[in-house]
């Protein structure tokens, strides 16, 4: 009891278990398990707000469908962003490559001119 009294004001950083949350919303948990989830709700504003909102969703089965759709959209966004970044990087690499080739060509031309000039002087 004493330990419980001290625990009232502690905040928890427990991991979020989506399945447990869904079971809680569906009323599938035992009283003991419900209490464990509600302890987290009382300590965590984010989770408490979320449960309050998820309770409003008319068909609880839709929650998982919505979450899957949102996760798919999220990956599309992240992938698109990654592709743009990769394209930008590829363009940069092409310019670097072109600059190196140009410098090499100029060096070669300069060397050829020097050789030609020396031959003219000696010959």
């Amino acid at each position: 009891m004493n330990k419980d009294l001290l625990n009232i004001l502690l905040n928890s950083n427990k991991d979020i278990d989506n399945q447990q949350l869904m079971d809680y919303l569906a009323g599938k948990l035992s009283e003991e398990e419900k209490h464990a989830v509600e302890m987290q709700l009382a300590e965590n504003d984010f989770m408490s707000d979320a449960v309050e909102g998820l309770e409003i969703v008319k068909n609880k089965r839709d929650i998982n469908v919505f979450v899957d759709q949102l996760n798919r959209d999220l990956h599309k966004k992240l992938f698109r962003k990654k592709s743009k970044k990769q394209r930008r990087k590829a363009v940069q690499q092409r310019w670097t490559f072109a600059a190196i080739i140009l410098i090499l060509v100029l060096l070669l031309a300069a060397w050829l001119m020097i050789v030609k000039y020396q031959r003219l002087r000696h010959g």
Binding site: D4, L5, L6, I8, L10, F66
Partner: protein, 190 residues
């Protein structure tokens, strides 16, 4: 992307990996941990499934852009703040009211446990808690005791007391807040 493989990696470690190589796959793993909670938060404020889903997408987009621009230390508090502010702004646009927006510091402070607790010895803390509980009003005292000490669920407390579930939640939340204030006052007096 398989989420399970990364379950052992903390949010902080995932952010570190992202900041090290700027690979968006780390953001994907991190953000989808919170999709359901974000959907719930947006539902709470907007009360509409389509609006809530749109808002979660916008929150994701905002998070992706901002995480590329600056460093975030406490992702969970930060993304909660981003979602809450987004919903409040959306409500403002609808109702023409100016909401009080939260900043990262406010959220971090809210998340902190009672700071003085660590410095107090157990006996003094217990005395303070007992005194603080006695100061709560009857309803809060009853709900807090049943919930924290007798480990009853909200529905069991509602059955015992005759309060609605919403009232039980509210008495526990307000009771906890009042306890915190009272304990701080009592320990200062000691």
């Amino acid at each position: 992307m398989k989420e399970d493989r990364y379950q052992h990696i903390t949010d902080k470690a995932l952010l570190e990996k992202f900041y090290a190589d700027k690979d968006n796959q780390w953001l994907g793993i991190l953000m989808q941990r919170y999709t359901m909670l974000l959907l719930g938060v947006c539902m709470k404020y907007l009360k509409n499934e389509d609006d809530a889903r749109d808002s979660v997408q916008q929150v994701f987009l905002k998070a992706i852009n901002e995480l590329h621009k600056y460093r975030v230390d406490y992702f969970k508090s930060w993304i909660y703040m981003v979602a809450k502010n987004h919903c409040l702004m959306k409500l403002r646009d609808k109702q023409g009211k100016t909401p009080v927006l939260l900043d990262e510091q406010t959220i971090a402070v809210q998340d902190e446990p009672l700071s003085q607790q660590a410095h107090l010895d157990k006996d003094r803390m217990l005395d303070a808690m007992s005194a603080a509980i006695a100061e709560l009003n009857e309803e809060q005292q009853q709900c807090v005791t049943l919930f924290y000490l007798e480990k009853k669920s909200y529905s069991q407390i509602a059955d015992i007391t005759g309060f609605s579930m919403m009232q039980v939640k509210s008495y526990i939340q307000n009771g906890k807040r009042n306890l915190k204030i009272a304990v701080e006052r009592i320990t200062k007096q000691q």
